[in-house]
Symmetry: C2
Subunit: 239 residues, 2 copies
Amino acid sequence: MTDHTVRAYDAELIELRQRIAEMGGLAEKMLSDAMQALLKRDTTLAQTAIVADRRLDLLQREVEDRSVLTIAKRQPMASDLREIISAMRLASDIERIGDLAKNIAKRVLAMNGEYPPLKVVFGAVNLSTLVLAQLKDVLDAYARRDLELATQVWKRDDEVDALYTSLFRELLTYMMEDPRNITFCTHLLFCAKNIERIGDHATNIAETAHYLITGELLPVERPKADTTTLNPKHVAEET
Amino acid sequence: MTDHTVRAYDAELIELRQRIAEMGGLAEKMLSDAMQALLKRDTTLAQTAIVADRRLDLLQREVEDRSVLTIAKRQPMASDLREIISAMRLASDIERIGDLAKNIAKRVLAMNGEYPPLKVVFGAVNLSTLVLAQLKDVLDAYARRDLELATQVWKRDDEVDALYTSLFRELLTYMMEDPRNITFCTHLLFCAKNIERIGDHATNIAETAHYLITGELLPVERPKADTTTLNPKHVAEET
């Protein structure tokens, strides 16, 4: 490659990184806005999170288009190809995170007029605080090529799952105590599941960062401690 | 490229297509097994679906590794690059479908001993029948490069969403009628959501098939008729 080609190519990689950074920031803000909307019963803020998802979808498309174009034009080898493939994967995970945050915001609108007591909302907010920290860390790890931080995020997913499981049981208990709690608790259950899924995508991003930095894939089995589908005894005990 | 290189390259693309076909067949079988397990309260069949997911994960890795290698070695242009990128996308969607089918199977195990009445299970089974048909059609559309069929699947997703919405309301009603229904109805709610999500992935595959065949992307907005998060009135009416 000539110097000029190399510079043009580097510029394309930098553009990709910037798009990914923008997507990451947007997804974090969407989750944070959706949870604040839930906490403050703020339907305007919920709308903000819902509308932001469109920008995220368009950015993902742009990352995909640019990636495919760059591969076709530059014919990159090994580590550069890895960077482009990783950017496409990240864009896909972040776009899904946006979808999940948007789902939470939509449930805030659906719950309009029938809000759950703050006590049960706090459980979901705590879960989202943990997941937001995971998301920030893993996006930093990716941007700074920090293998140790990426690995920490990957391992910490079991804390998210454990908190989700305990929230799941708490919500079931509320539903059983009073049938009038069922509608909003069902919405909260899905909110909690969406947050837990965002945590899974943070783990995916950690795996992509690991692949980007080392060229190696992490083991297929991730740490898993969401036992709501595994441990009928504990769920049943609360009935 | 020499004739020999072209043949080796074609062989790689054929290998990729075969892996995708195997993954698709496996994912269909996992969903079908998980639903049969739910219907027949068959925990052995549920285990079969859970174990099969490992094979699917490994196949996805293989598709990714082969795709990256092929891009690096062959430096493909335009339509061939599109085929490889599409294979990676499909592998990712099918792997997620496998995860969702596995989640359903895990819930069958979690419900062990406390099974819902067949009447409510049928609602979930009907939803899965519709989604399985979508999945079969879209995998056929991809394999045969059938643009019309892919577009049909893409448009038909609103039927899946409508059926899911009606099932969601039915399950809420059961929960409100008797608190003893809450645990299994919650499991069924998540099963239904997993099936509806599989339908979304079938739509993603339709979009990828469209991109593969035409080189153009479909509009960002997909048909959407899951109103459980949008229409508080209808949900509330059933409380």
